[in-house]
Amino acid sequence: MLRQLTRSMGLTSRLLRQVNYGTNAPAGTHIPVTKALEIGQWEEKLKAAGVEDTKFNVKCIVSHVLKRKFNLVPDSYDQLQLNPGQLADFERFLEARCARMPLQHIIGEWDFMDLTLKTSPSVFIPRPETEEFVRLVIENYKNAKHVDLLEVGCGSGAMSLSMLHSLPQVEATAIERSKAATVLAAENAKMLGLLNRFEVHNHTMEEDKYMPEVLKDKKYDLIISNPPYVKTEEFQFLHPEVVVYENLNALDGGSDGLRVARLVFDLACRHLRPGGKLWLELGNEHPPLVKTIMNLKYEGRLKFVASYNDQYQRERFVQIEKV
C-alpha cells in the first residue's frame, strides 16, 4: 500500500509539473465548475480515496484555481466558470488530492491564525491544534513589556510569525535543521513584513552544541517549540498524507516521542533567563511524562508549571519555568 502510494506521489508530482493548458480546446469555451465536478465524478473519487470532508477540499481547490480568496467563494458553484487552462489545473489538483497529496501542498499556501503562509513540499504543515497552542502563548504574553523569543524547529515559521504579528513587543530568533524550511520561514517573514524582528538560523541541535556558534551566549525570555513527538512505533498508523508527503524528520520523536524534546530541555537550561518560560506542544501522553522528567532530572534547573488541553480536550501543551 505504501509503495503504491509512493508511486502515485511520483506520478502526481509529475502531473503537477506538467503544464498543459489544453490548447486543443476551442478558445473561450468555459465550463461551469458544477459541470466539471460532475463529469469527473470528483466527489466520489475523493471519497473512494479516503479523503474526508470532500466539500471543503473541493472548495479550497476551486478558490485556488480561480485565484479567489477562500472566504469569497460562494457555497454553490453554479455561477463559477473555468476556462480550459483552469479546468486542466482543477483536474490536476483533484487528481493529486485523490493520491492523498496534502491539500496545503497542492495549493501552495495555508492559513495559520491571521496569516497566510506559503507551504513547501518538504516542510511540515502546521496543524489546527498549533493555532490553539500559539493563542495560549500569546494570551500569556500580551501584557509583557519586551520578549526575546526563541523557537526551536520553526518549520514554515508559523508560530514565531504569528507571535510577531500579534505582539509588537516580541523579537524572535529561530533555529531549524532543514535548509528548505529555513529558506521558507525567511521567505514567509519577508512576505509578511516581519523580517526586521525575525531571524532564522539553519542549525541542527546536538548534545553540547545546542545553538549555532553566533548565538551560543544568547539568553531568552521565552522558548517555544513543537518538536517532533511521534513515537517510532506509531509510524505505521500515520495518515498517507503524513507518511508519504511530509518530512518525517519533523515528526520522528524516537522511541518515546521525547528524543528531541529532551534536547530542548537541555537547551532551555542554558539559554533561558531565570524566570523565563519554555512552552511545548507535544503528544497527548507526554505532559505527565514531562512532569516526571522535570522532577527527577532537572530539579533546581527547570520546573514544571502547568499543562493545558487542546480543543479536542487532549492534554497536549506544557509550560516549564527556568529556575
Partner: protein, 392 residues
C-alpha cells in the same frame, strides 16, 4: 453685452424673490431665523460646554451649519449694494464693482448649496452604530425566493461598496438557489441613514426561469431595517459553550494532516447553535462562530428587550410605510422604478443589481428627499425663540 448682464442680475433677483416662498430657500425668512437660532445655540452651548460630553456632541453637530452660515454672511457683506454703485462716479470703477459682484453672487449661490447640505444632514439626526438587515421572500413562491437571492447579492455588494462590515447570522436557502430569508448585521456609522430607505416591499416583474409557458410574473420580497442600539451587551461564559469540529475523536497533532477547519458552537443555556466554515483557519472560524453567536444573542435580546420596541418603532417611523411597495424591478423593460420620488425610473438592471454606484445614487436621492421633508416639518413646527424676536 452689458444689457445681458443687467438682465441676468434682474432675473436672478426675480428668481430669488420667487424662491423666498419655498421654505427650503436660504432667502426664506423663517429659515433665516432658524439658522440664526442655531448659531446662537452653538455659541451658548460653547460657553457652557466644559467637560460635558453631550454638549460637545451637540457642538460637533452644529459646527458645520454654523461655519457655513458665517461664511455666507461674510460673502454677503462683500457684495456692493446698488446704492453704493450709483454713488460711484467713475465708470471703470463701476464696471469693476459689477464684475466683482458677479463673482460674489456666484460664490454665494455655491455657499447656499453647501449650507443647505449641512442643514439637511443636521435634520437627519438618528445615529446607530449597527443595524439588523432582514430580507424575506414574499408572494410568488420559488420565483420570489430567486429574486430575494438577487437582492441579497445586490445588498451585500452594496455593503462592500460602502465599506461597511457585515455578517450573516441566519439564512435559509432553497435547493434551486433561492433565498427564503436572511438576517444580516451591518455595522457602519452611517449605515442606518442609508439603508432605512430600502425597507419596504420590492417588486419584480419578469418571466421567471422557473416558468415554462413564458408568462410574466409579479413577485415580491420585503426588507426590514432594525437599528441596533449601542447599549445592548451580552456576556458569554466559556463554560456555557460546547465547541465542536469535524474531527471528534482519533489521533491529532503530527499524526494526522486533516484540514478540519469548520467549527460548530453550541451555547448551552439557550441551546443556540452556530457554525462557521468560511475560513481555512480553524481558529478564525471559531472567532467567526463566536461573533455569530454573539449577534444571535443580541438579536434575541433585541426582540425581547423593551429598548428594542422603542428602536423598532422609531425605525418604522423613519422608514415610513414598511408594507408599502417601494420599488419595482421590471426585467422585460430593463427598468427600475422607485415609487417614492419623482423621476425615480432608471434603466440598466444588471448594473443596478451589482449594488454599486447606481443603487448608491438612488439612495442618495431618497435620502435628500427624506431630509428635505424632515427639515420642512421641522420648520413648520418651529417657533422662533422669544429673545430672538425681542432683538428684532
Amino acid at each position: 453685452m452689458m444689457s445681458r448682464k443687467v438682465l441676468n442680475l434682474r432675473l436672478g433677483y426675480l428668481a430669488r424673490r420667487w424662491a423666498s416662498t419655498d421654505p427650503l430657500n436660504i432667502q426664506n425668512e423663517k429659515l433665516q431665523a432658524y439658522l440664526e437660532s442655531l448659531r446662537q445655540e452653538y455659541y451658548a452651548v460653547r460657553v457652557n460646554a466644559a467637560g460635558n460630553s453631550k454638549s460637545y456632541a451637540r457642538l460637533a453637530q452644529l459646527e458645520g451649519v454654523v461655519s457655513a452660515l458665517e461664511q455666507r454672511r461674510v460673502l454677503e457683506r462683500q457684495i456692493t449694494s446698488a446704492k453704493d454703485m450709483e454713488a460711484e462716479k467713475d465708470e471703470d470703477m463701476r464696471e469693476l464693482m459689477r464684475e466683482e459682484n458677479e463673482v460674489y453672487v456666484d460664490l454665494l449661490g455655491k455657499q447656499d448649496q453647501a449650507l443647505l447640505q449641512e442643514l439637511l444632514t443636521l435634520s437627519d439626526d438618528e445615529m446607530y452604530p449597527a443595524l439588523i438587515f432582514g430580507l424575506n421572500a414574499g408572494a410568488g413562491g420559488q420565483e420570489a425566493m430567486l429574486f430575494a437571492q438577487e437582492l441579497y447579492e445586490m445588498y451585500t455588494g452594496f455593503f462592500e461598496h460602502m465599506g461597511w462590515e457585515w455578517e450573516e447570522f441566519a439564512s435559509e436557502i432553497t435547493d434551486i438557489g433561492g433565498l427564503r430569508h436572511a438576517s444580516l448585521m451591518v455595522s457602519g456609522e452611517d449605515a442606518f441613514r442609508w439603508l432605512r430607505h430600502e425597507a419596504g416591499v420590492h417588486r419584480v416583474q419578469r418571466v421567471p426561469a422557473t416558468e415554462k409557458s413564458g408568462r410574466m410574473h409579479t413577485s415580491t420580497a420585503s426588507i426590514t431595517v432594525i437599528p441596533r442600539p449601542a447599549d445592548i451587551h451580552v456576556h458569554i461564559a466559556e463554560k456555557d459553550l460546547k465547541i465542536e469540529t469535524k474531527r471528534a475523536s482519533g489521533a491529532g497533532g503530527q499524526h494526522v494532516n486533516t484540514t478540519d477547519s469548520a467549527v460548530r458552537i453550541v451555547h448551552l443555556p439557550t441551546g443556540l447553535a452556530v457554525e462557521a466554515q468560511s475560513e481555512r483557519s480553524q481558529l478564525k472560524n471559531r472567532e467567526l462562530a463566536m461573533k455569530r453567536l454573539r449577534s444571535r444573542l443580541v438579536q434575541q435580546q433585541l426582540e425581547s428587550a423593551e429598548a428594542s420596541k422603542m428602536a423598532t418603532k422609531k425605525a418604522q417611523q423613519g422608514s415610513l410605510n414598511r408594507n408599502e411597495k417601494i420599488r419595482t424591478y421590471n426585467f422585460v423593460q430593463d427598468r427600475i422604478t422607485d415609487h417614492r420620488i419623482q423621476g425615480g425610473t432608471m434603466h440598466n438592471l444588471d448594473g443596478f443589481l451589482k449594488g454599486g454606484d447606481q443603487l448608491c445614487g438612488l439612495i442618495e436621492k431618497l435620502q435628500l428627499e427624506h431630509r428635505k421633508e424632515r427639515l420642512k416639518e421641522l420648520l413648520d413646527t418651529w417657533e422662533p425663540p422669544k429673545e430672538a424676536i425681542k432683538e428684532n
